[in-house]
Symmetry: C2
């Protein structure tokens, strides 16, 4: 749901993002850091492979050869964001787990510089970035399903609950308000959207009908 | 919530979109129709003022003078979309009103050619288009508040209900799934998102706390 370093500030020390792997991995990290920095400073329109190469201290031919173009660079930033050990918050109840998750998303969507917003905007410009953004969201939503399975285990939700629909309902208002409607950020929004989804879940909105097997 | 002609097909005959006003109004309509057609065929990247002028049969100087650039053309398409008599569906209950509204949004977001999706994408490219898209959404959400006030009048909801939050909760999953996540369209989605919002509303999720006056 969030790019590589969009979790609450300070929860993970930066060095854990650097994986072993020698020169190739180090160059990749330098280049991707440069993409994020350039994107934050200049947005998509100011992002060029040359500026990224210069900032990363890497030869431009290396960047062209490995990433091709700006779309390839953005896609690799998004793909790298999944390459972490992020787990959704575990706070003890469905509503508070969803609220904590929404706080992370809210923080990422309102951060300065607006990296996540710029990556989402870029996904409307570059098909490669769009596909990588989809893969990242799929990864994040899949990891978040544990919030729902914990709530099922604790007896908060019926066993057959559509986890994905519940997670979409909980998080969609943040994206809609902040990314599409461009509303003034409302600090109540994360908690309220979580509460709405939890109330609807308690009322059976995401309960799947029994399958034919159970009939 | 929907651009000018994105309501269910055939509910309004096209001639009602043409307002009296003579040559200036007629030229505007020709140009805006051409923008929509070009956008549908070629997307934002293929949209040029010259192509719009040619398609509309209008001199290019007229287009430059009146609309300036592609952003100005898109902004006027979006502004013109509010200049109609659209009202949200009135079906007799909160959930079915929201479901009918969501059906309209779903139809617009999955239409071919994808005009609404292209306009939303364009709002990530042009600041003028972004501001006009915001104005259009504001107009549509304001008009939809009558859905909530009717439900209050019928005793379905408490008098102090946050209409906007309820409408955002009902509609956000469609935009999130279809515009951002680019999920395969699921015909169950409009009804399900409506039902989720209605269940949360019935559970008190959008009830505003009593104001100081009532204390």
């Amino acid at each position: 749901m969030t790019p590589a370093d969009s979790g609450p500030e300070g929860t993970r020390p930066p060095p854990t993002r650097r994986r072993p792997g020698g020169r190739t991995a180090r160059i990749r990290q330098q280049v991707l850091d440069a993409v994020v920095a350039e994107l934050g400073e200049h947005g998509y329109d100011g992002l060029t492979t040359d500026a990224v190469a210069a900032r990363a201290g890497v030869h431009r031919a290396t960047v062209y050869r490995r990433w091709g173009d700006v779309g390839g660079l953005l896609a690799d930033v998004l793909d790298a964001a999944s390459d972490d050990d992020w787990q959704p918050p575990d706070t003890g109840s469905l509503e508070s787990d969803l609220a904590a998750l929404n706080q992370e998303i809210y923080a990422a969507l309102t951060a300065q510089p607006p990296i996540m917003a710029a990556l989402i905007a870029a996904s409307f410009r570059s098909e490669k970035a769009a596909q990588a953004q989809q893969r990242l969201w799929e990864d994040r939503y899949a990891r978040c399903e544990i919030i729902v399975s914990r709530a099922v285990r604790h007896g908060e939700l019926p066993p057959r609950t559509d986890a994905r629909q519940l997670l979409i309902a909980a998080t969609a208002p943040l994206y809609h308000q902040l990314v599409l409607l461009r509303a003034t950020p409302d600090p109540q929004l994360p908690g309220h959207a979580a509460r709405t989804a939890a109330l609807a879940a308690a009322a059976g909105s995401f309960a799947e009908p029994p399958s034919a097997r159970d009939a």
